[in-house]
Symmetry: C2
Subunit: 140 residues, 2 copies
Amino acid sequence: MDARILIEVLQKNGHRVTKARSALLSILDKKHSPLSAMELQKLLERKGIIVNKTTIYREIDFLIAQNIIHSVALGDEATRYELSSRDHHHHIQCTSCGNVVDLPLNNELKEIEKQITRGTGYMIEKHALEFFGLCKNCQK
Amino acid sequence: MDARILIEVLQKNGHRVTKARSALLSILDKKHSPLSAMELQKLLERKGIIVNKTTIYREIDFLIAQNIIHSVALGDEATRYELSSRDHHHHIQCTSCGNVVDLPLNNELKEIEKQITRGTGYMIEKHALEFFGLCKNCQK
DNA sequence: CTAAGTGCAAATAATTTGCAGGAAG
DNA sequence: CTTCCTGCAAATTATTTGCACTTAG
């Protein structure tokens, strides 16, 4: 249970473990695709945990500050978030239904990043690689 | 002049060529990094062309519909736009000053896209690959 | 002329913030 | 208890839309 370990770490570091906080971690741990603030709120609701949207945003800020989650920008309405403890991966979003799926890829980009640093002097910290297309269902 | 050609095409297709429209095209043609709605408005202003922000957004919609520009999502405040007629490329944004630079890269992703299609059944239409890091200046 | 372009004010939508009350440790 | 968490309402920011007016062709 990734979520359990994260909760332990939070406790060890003197952070409070609220119902919403631990439920969010277990939701993020189970769902293998990035979730928006609204989606997180709804998934909490299904567990019987009703919180204000403000709380969701503050919880997101907190978890980002703890390096537990990070944002994923796909260019549509809302920012999504996912656990940072996952192996590095990318996403593909269906341009019709909007569904997002994780894509396990190897580090094809390491060499490219070195090239870029050589060419531009930038000290690269991270990258975002997202794919877009029609999922099987929407091809019909 | 890329902008000139685009203007001719618009005229040929029966679209009007307003001061703002042609100025936007020449601005986008010159600036080799994606621009936000607000930046576009300000750059027009510097040319003495004062337009409402609404006009900027409507012009962006129009140019996207004409396949002349497309959006670039970097995950911060605003969406940026750039000419589609440019060779396919990517960007790197400084995580400190926010500056965005174009990166000419070859099609390293073609093979990866084929893999993804084989593995997931998605019919891939496009991808977004952005890099983030510290620019030379901000490393000091 | 006449459809397309434009400004302005108001509407949305995502996210942020101030403040006062409530709960975790 | 005391700091952190939370709700609520109001503020902010990016973008959209309705309506009446203006202009390019």
